[in-house]
Amino acid sequence: MTPDFNAQDRDHDHQAVPSDPALRAKALESLLVEKGLVDPAALDVLVDTFENKVGPRNGARVVARAWIDTAYKQRLLEDGTAAMAELGFTGEQGEKLTVVENTPTVHNMIVCTLCSCYPWPLLGLPPTWYKSNAYRSRTVVDPRGVLRELGLAVADDIEVRVWDSTAESRYLVLPERPVGTESLTENELAELVTRDAMIGVARVRASGDPA
């Protein structure tokens, strides 16, 4: 009798493409709890932290402070980690923060080609598109194309700098302060700052500006 290679293949496929990840995750969690390896209350706390405690509102506060306080901005560009800690932001994936400043002649954008590195304390966990195969692969070779696709045209005479977060450094883009915001308070300025602007795929717009 000849061996049924197709059956083996099917079996192999079954191994390589396991069932619904939601079910697998649930089963794994119950097992680890049953074995005493994990405290489910600790998981609740961790999920709450990433859903509610860290996120782009933190980064927006850092940006707004840098816009209104030039001495703070200087410290932020020199040592991002120390400067964000001044505002109470510390933590995992923020231990070596480099802040890069957009100017009329330089546009910065962040990527992680090898994985998904991102400044968690200031931006939270990265959005799906940042972790997508397309963003990770194309951003270093065609940053202007990626920006155009995301709705941001960068003029030819502006230098585009891509920061690949493959090592220990994490990056935050300090966007340009929009014109017409001179009278806004720090809190009002922070309201304008978006996650995408701090990744470097959007500009900050003054309130009421058409997108």
Binding site: A16, P21, A22, R24, A25, K26, A27, L28, L31, L32, K35, G36, L37, V38, D39, A41, A42, L43, D44, L46, V47, T49, F50, E51, K53, V54, T81, A85, T90, G91, E92, E95, K96, V111, T113, C115, W120, G124, L125, P127, T128, W129, K131, S132, N133, A134, R136, S137, R138, V140, V141, D156, V160, R161, V162, W163, T166, A167, E168, S169
Partner: protein, 217 residues
């Protein structure tokens, strides 16, 4: 390793999937997997999850969602480190004879853990081989194990912008081998050096590279 995870410069890998109002986790299980990684990782049995994600076969890696990769890598880590057997994971039941462990991360510690800055920079004095302003070439190496030397930089010449300080070398550290502390340098590569004459003349890519990855150009 020259895995599909090292995708800088590839084309044709699909769409960006930009979403306007994106939740932090798209499904409950994604958050649980992220939290499990922290909580199980606190047992100190492994260093990072990336090396395992990189070993996911390329076709599966490309098909999987981000947190499916995490779940797959986490499961492999748990089996490999002996925290649970594959049998237990497949059946979802602990072996009756297995002694009950104590969670490495309490709920109280979990509150602080992600907000505590870990220290990755090493406080050791080692002479730096390269100086800011020097041209350096990324070595043309193709290890079959974990590395942070992206393929698209290999053999290319850049200029050292900044000395980042001293760090353990991930290539050995993740396997609990000699951490080989050494300087890490921020290197600027022009887009033209990386991608040829048709790339925009002003543009550049900045990458942090360990000293072992570089040679004088």
């Amino acid at each position: 390793m020259n895995g599909v995870h090292d995708m800088g410069g590839m084309q044709g890998l699909g769409d960006l999937h930009y979403e306007r109002e994106e939740p932090m986790f798209h499904a409950r299980w994604e958050g649980r997997v992220h939290a499990l990684w922290h909580a199980v990782g606190a047992h100190g049995k492994w260093r990072g999850i990336r090396t395992k994600m990189e070993l996911i076969p390329a076709a599966d890696y490309l098909r999987m969602s981000y947190y499916e990769r995490w779940l797959t890598a986490l499961t492999e880590r748990i089996v490999e480190s002996g925290l649970a057997t594959r049998d237990e994971i497949e059946t979802g039941r602990a072996e009756p004879i297995a002694p009950r462990a104590t969670p490495a991360l309490s709920a109280a510690a979990a509150r602080e853990a992600p907000l505590r800055p870990p220290r990755t920079e090493l406080a050791v004095q080692i002479p730096a081989r390269f100086l800011p302003g020097q041209p350096v070439r990324a070595r043309n190496r193709h290890p079959t194990t974990h590395t942070r030397l992206p393929r698209y930089t290999r053999g290319r010449v850049g200029v050292v912008e900044r000395d980042r300080g001293v760090f353990a070398l991930p290539d050995t550290r993740v396997y609990f081998l000699d951490p080989k502390p050494q300087h890490v340098y921020l290197v600027r590569f022009t887009a033209r050096e990386l991608w040829g004459d048709e790339a925009p003349a002003r543009d550049a890519v900045y990458v942090d590279l360990w000293e072992d990855y570089l040679e004088l150009a």
